[in-house]
Amino acid sequence: MMKDRREFLISLVRGGGAAAVGGLVWSGLLDGKGAGALTLRPPGAAAEERFIAACTKCGLCAAACPFRAIMLATPGDGRPIGTPYLVMRDHPCRMCRDIPCAAACPTGALDVKSVSDAGPEGGIQLNVNKARIGLAVIDRETCVAYWGIQCDACYRACPVIDKAITVEPVLNVRTGKHAILGPVVHSEHCTGCGSCERACITKKASIFVLPRQFAMGEAGEHYLRGWELQDEKQVREIPEDPKTVTPRSKKSPLDYLNQEGP
């Protein structure tokens, strides 16, 4: 009996040791988890962390894409293996109205609901313009339109033209008599489809799509724009006389200065 128990314990230790070493090596292999951070996912993709967890790498989205724009990452190309991605300069997302890629996803890693409006009778109505694959960013130093040369390739290519990209005329101060017609991206409407990146005429695209969390800043809640309805509401919702009570604030400031000063 004693011998059996000892043998059992030893085998448990052996198994545990092997599992510990194996687990360490294994998790080392998985360490490239964040490598996909700059990867652009098909429309309807959940936030990267959740997407990676839910995607079973089945390729149904890639097979469903009529333009063959969605590819599956292979080992060695620096993206999480087997997950779907888009390279906009080669094949932008064509924004199909029926969103076949998201509809094909069996696990919900691509979530149809996130690219739909509420439809009649509690159903959903697909709306591909709600897709937020990424956000187009312009490098004004290499964009020839900002040099004063006329180019509106990205503006014309944009499927949400005049909303996601507009052209803003400003004075060309170098010549003093011409206009610069510079493209401007609006994050409120940009789907990140990448048609602009594909259309850009410079050698390496001067407008390109980045995942939103990398392309956007955040002002923080305490900066309020009094001219925006939403922000003004926030000001109004502040309680009449906000009071923070700390041991020190129990006394009036005047008392504090008079009685506790040096």
Partner: protein, 276 residues
């Protein structure tokens, strides 16, 4: 016996494996609707969802909710192999089987087991890997085995493009060829371990007829999991271990007709062999 009869299950298995693979390839390349996706999850005839239940389990262990389609798919596959004998997947569907069978054949041709001292690994390892895969999925928040699985790598690679994935397949091939016999499929693969657990209740099983057996033990020589054959020459009954892959090699090699496929009906006397 004509070679085609002698190798009937081998030919049938290769046909099934190749057909499944080709249907998946055609599903992606030509839009055939028979099988679309890959072994991780797919659609059969554009209507029935299918999913790898172990992959799904890993996703669930990451704490991610999964859409109903995948859950239904996983259940369908689980039920199919619960009836067909879990590891029937390994011998009849899994593409890695072709790779590791080739490695084993070359291992025999090269006489590696005669020339080199044996390297062993307990066959229980796969159950540790199975559990470890789930633990790592929960800790790291990604389906851990799916990320490095040579099965998915090969299958997805053939359908959607391989990249550097062939290196992993080559590594498994070399491991099986020169290190441990049946090293991957028979010792390490957690999916095989998972299906071995599922297959315990399998209905399609190899049956042994002791009264016909001449105890030549050729079945044990060809069996990729010889520990499942403890009853050979001792008693009649079904091979009950879930680790049996239903590959039929033992049936093909038996000169006495002492082995055959049968249906094990739940509730009927199985001649279950204790121990082993």
């Amino acid at each position: 016996m004509a070679p085609i009869i002698r190798n009937r299950f081998l030919l049938l298995r290769r046909t099934v494996q190749a057909s499944v693979l080709l249907l998946f390839v055609a599903g992606n390349a030509f839009g055939w609707k028979v099988l679309q996706g890959n072994l991780s999850s797919s659609r059969l005839l554009d209507s029935v969802p299918l999913a790898d239940p172990y992959a799904l389990l890993q996703v669930l262990f990451t704490g991610t909710a999964v859409a109903t389609d995948a859950l239904i798919g996983g259940t369908v596959v689980l039920l199919v192999f619960a009836v067909a004998g879990g590891r029937t997947f390994c011998a009849w569907v899994c593409p890695m089987n072709m790779v590791t069978d080739l490695a084993e054949r070359l291992r025999d041709a090269g006489g590696i087991d005669r020339r080199l001292p044996a390297m062993t690994l307990t066959r229980q390892t796969r159950y540790w890997v199975l559990g470890l895969g789930l633990v790592l999925s929960a800790v790291l928040g990604i389906a851990a085995f799916e990320r490095i699985s040579p099965i998915s790598m090969l299958h997805r690679g053939v359908i959607f493009g391989m990249g550097a994935g062939w290196t992993l397949i080559a590594a498994v091939f070399l491991f099986d060829l020169a290190v441990v016999r049946q090293g991957f499929c028979g010792h390490l693969c957690p999916l095989g371990g998972f299906y071995a657990v599922v297959g315990r209740a399998g209905l399609v099983r190899v049956r042994h007829r002791e009264e016909q057996c001449s105890r030549c033990m050729r079945c044990r020589d060809v069996c990729p999991e010889p520990q499942v054959l403890p009853l050979i020459g001792k008693e009649s009954g079904f091979i009950t271990s879930g680790e049996c892959t239903n590959c039929g090699k033992c049936i093909e090699v038996c000169p006495d007709d002492a082995l055959l496929f049968g249906m094990r009906m739940p509730g009927t006397p199985t001649g279950e062999h204790k121990g082993g």
